[in-house]
Symmetry: D2
Subunit: 100 residues, 4 copies
């Protein structure tokens, strides 16, 4: 089952700056060979459900290893059976309608 | 890794009523022997990460089987290494402070 | 416009315990005379859009006043024009279907 | 109070395609002269809290006017008092650390 997932992982108990943790998560996602798109409030990820979820779990493990005692994560995720759709398809369907 | 997760699964393309899909998801969670608490905008779930994620995947599969061509899900999830904490602990820590 | 909103406000830069901030937010919501239901990963709130949003803003202001330099909040919110629906209606529609 | 907000508005009861509703919301945000960045699972928006929330409310009103009887929206939003930060700052702080 293919999923498009938006990941926003917030470490707690380690101050206000989170960028180094986001960078560490991107390394995990890269190693998992997942397609990702960074934005200002999270990272879009696409791939097979099990691969994506395994990578999200590794992100939690990695950020705990880096010293964060607590993590709160918000995820939005979409699956569909009517057609296949990528991150790029979703953006293009909006951009194309905007240009009509 | 123990996780407390808040699941809000929204079927798309099947009208405005979602309660029968929420009921179907609760049957999946019950079969998975996971502890759950229903609220007005989702269901709190706690358990081992792999068990909880496998159940969330089954919820998506079940709701697609019921005829929903598309699903968008919002999840909040927390893990921590400093102490163990249940759904009940989280609620009690607030109620107790309210009574102080 | 009536809204049912699920609020999960997370203070950053103030350690791992958030319960005292949740309690402070509940005082703000109580003063605003809004109906609320606490759960393990947030608080359901219902009321007129402007009243609810004004209270959410006050929660941010209050938690910053308490010393949190940064806040990340996740909100789920629903509006509908086909019928009126309360927090209790949403829960009962699921419980009733479960008992069928 | 300056806020960076990620908006994901999902119309219900109007089929599976949401792009025309996303386009309509972007017109509302543009009229409100708010800075926005589209991504595959939402739109980042930044500005003064009241301006941003008024625009989000207008998006709900607009999408209901377009015939959607029900809407479920997920929002992530951040405020901070320790420094000012834009959408671009947040992305650059990650990109810069990635290049170190």
């Amino acid at each position: 089952m293919y999923v498009i997932l938006d990941l926003c992982l917030v470490p707690m108990g380690v101050g206000v700056s989170v960028s180094k943790y986001v960078v560490a998560c991107h390394e995990v996602l890269k190693k998992a060979k997942l397609k990702t798109e960074l934005h200002a409030y999270g990272t879009n990820i696409e791939g097979e459900w099990d691969d994506v979820m395994a990578a999200v779990k590794k992100c939690h493990e990695k950020v705990h290893e880096m010293g964060a005692p607590r993590i709160t994560t918000t995820v939005k995720m979409g699956t569909r059976t009517d057609r296949s759709q990528t991150i790029q398809d979703k953006i293009e369907s909006v951009l194309q309608k905007q240009s009509e």
